[in-house]
């Protein structure tokens, strides 16, 4: 990367990190509170009655999913809201007029989303330590899935923002698509508990692969082959990068 592009990239990333840091009460605190409630209600109160799942206590079993769920939601939310505001207030024009290649714009926003996803993920992980002992089975798998999931959902947030024309449009996808996919992606249960039809249907849910691979990284257990899961995540990332760059090149939603 040339120094000009590197500086442009750093500028976008710095701007993004400053943006969500300034409003930490809206960006970092809510997921911390929500997941604390999940840990208390599902982990402690209800979890004690559920017993073991996959050879682990219920709270140990759901911790990886809850961490990853907050990473998914926050990476997505960061990029979709930031890029949509940029469009809405027209300061996207600051970038369009400047000699910043589209891939640098995309990388900058995605890095911003990853930064928020990871910060929230770390906060939630620290909170989980109050409720359970966290063991890490594979640091490499944990870190890779942590980052790849964040990248994937930042890209998805970016695409949503490109098409969004109103604030409603940026909340429809998280409410009606992202949340169901996350809740049905094996955060709270193993798909082995489901009847065969629903097990098979669950396999088309990309979140399932991320949650299970992350769970494998932390606990060493997974409903699916980790190598296949990683390949699927990388495949989705590749497709979304191509699609996002195509949207930027055509100027969809940002140029007349």
């Amino acid at each position: 990367m040339s120094s000009i592009k590197r500086i442009a990239y750093q500028t976008i990333v710095t701007k993004e990190i400053l943006r969500f840091s300034r409003i930490w009460v809206q960006t970092i605190l809510p997921p911390a509170i929500t997941t604390t409630l999940y840990f208390i209600i599902f982990g402690k109160l209800i979890g004690q009655r559920i017993g073991e799942m996959g050879g682990y206590s219920y709270i140990e079993y759901i911790v990886p999913g809850l961490i990853l769920m907050s990473v998914i939601q926050n990476s997505y939310a960061n990029v979709v809201s930031s890029f949509f505001s940029t469009k809405l207030q027209h300061y996207i024009e600051e970038l369009l007029i400047a000699p910043v290649p589209n891939w640098v714009v995309l990388s900058g926003y995605v890095t911003g989303g990853v930064a928020r996803g990871l910060i929230v993920g770390v906060v939630v992980t620290l909170i989980s330590l109050f409720f359970t002992d966290l063991r890490i089975h594979s640091y490499a798998v944990t870190l890779v899935v942590f980052v790849l999931t964040s990248v994937l959902f930042s890209l998805a947030g970016f695409i949503n923002a490109v098409y969004a024309k109103s604030f409603d449009d940026i909340s429809i996808v998280p409410t009606f698509i992202l949340t169901p996919l996350t809740y049905l992606g094996g955060v709270f249960y193993s798909i082995e508990l489901l009847p065969e039809f629903w097990q098979n249907l669950s396999l088309v849910n990309p979140v399932l692969y991320m949650v299970n691979t992350f769970r494998y990284g932390l606990l060493g257990v997974s409903d699916i082959d980790v190598r296949i899961a990683l390949a699927i995540i990388l495949g989705f990332i590749f497709l979304l990068i191509l699609f996002s760059l195509k949207l930027l090149a055509k100027g969809v939603g940002i140029k007349e």
Binding site: I12, Y91, P101, E256
Partner: protein, 307 residues
């Protein structure tokens, strides 16, 4: 060298509206160039395409010899734009807006702060550097837009109605500033609805109407095309009726004010002489209409040959 060359530029929007119908334009290096036209004529569309804010349908553009399609990054580095509408993050402090913009042009952060300081001082905004943009007055926001456009030191500055809505004092200080940066070598393209502004500042002019350039010439050349000029003359003593002058059309606006139409080939000395011979004393005199305004209306009211 030409600062901007536009060849046969067309733009048709997705709704089928054709905003530009083959615009060709050359702006020379160092020029202070007016791009004028009525609302909806295609000025802003042309500017948006030059600044990469809109996609063209066809045509070619180059900035200081760099093609905007094949050598986009080099071309973009040379352009600064002050758009019509405020388009900065209203929640960001003034200095951050400039530092970020400099960063997009690859200027390291330390140097970006230095440039931001220099530019904000030039535009009397340094005291407001930590203020969020939304708290600035309208005039300050306009100056912030100019500062942001200049922070990367562009060689071609495009000003799309930069003084719209600002009071006369600020407008005049902005004129001084624009003249200064033009004298320092920055080529400026100005669009404005204040034709007095264009007449005062610009050396060359193009008039765009219905998506076509209908006139491109020097300001002096354009004004010399005026066939008549209308003057309003204030008199020392009231008159009961308008005097009859053989070479001039005269009407009485009120007992102490005359309106006189002077043909291009006639001289004002002759007018004063004729008035003196009838014992009429003149106390002051002014153009009824800005000269460029008169010419502009003449041009845009002609039937559209392509319609």
């Amino acid at each position: 060298m030409s600062a901007l060359v536009i060849e046969n530029l067309h733009k048709t929007y997705r709704n089928g509206f054709t905003a530009l119908k083959g615009v060709s334009l050359v702006v020379e290096e160092g020029d202070f160039f007016a791009l004028l036209g009525p609302n909806g004529a295609g000025k802003s569309t042309a500017i948006s395409i030059i600044a990469s804010l809109a996609n063209k349908t066809s045509g070619q553009l180059s900035v200081y010899g760099h093609d905007l399609e094949t050598d986009k990054e080099q071309a973009k580095r040379l352009i600064g734009l002050v758009p019509q509408e405020f388009n900065f993050n209203m929640w960001e402090p003034v200095v951050e807006i400039l530092v970020n913009q400099a960063g997009y042009y690859g200027i390291p952060r330390k140097q970006a702060f230095e440039r931001a300081e220099a530019t904000l001082r030039q535009l009397d905004l340094w005291d407001k550097r930590h203020t969020q943009a939304r708290w600035l007055s309208g005039g300050m926001k306009r100056r912030l837009m100019i500062a942001r456009a200049l922070v990367h030191r562009p060689r071609l500055l495009i000003l799309d109605e930069p003084t719209a809505g600002v009071d006369i004092e600020i407008r005049r200080s902005m004129w001084r500033f624009m003249r200064e940066i033009n004298q320092q070598g920055t080529t400026i393209i100005l669009t404005t609805h204040y034709l007095e502004e264009a007449e005062n500042l610009c050396r060359n002019i193009a008039i765009i109407h219905h998506g076509r350039i209908i006139e491109q010439t020097s300001m002096a050349g354009l004004l010399s095309q005026l066939h008549t000029e209308v003057f309003v003359i204030d008199l020392d003593h009231p008159l009961e009726q308008a005097p009859v002058l053989s070479d001039y059309a005269v009407s009485l606006l009120d007992p102490q004010t005359l309106e006189v139409t002077v043909a291009r080939e006639k001289r004002l000395n002759g007018l004063f002489q004729a008035l003196s011979q009838q014992g009429i004393q003149v106390t002051s005199m002014r153009n009824k209409q800005n000269r460029l305004e008169q010419m502009f209306i003449d041009l845009v009211e002609r039937p559209d040959p392509g319609a």
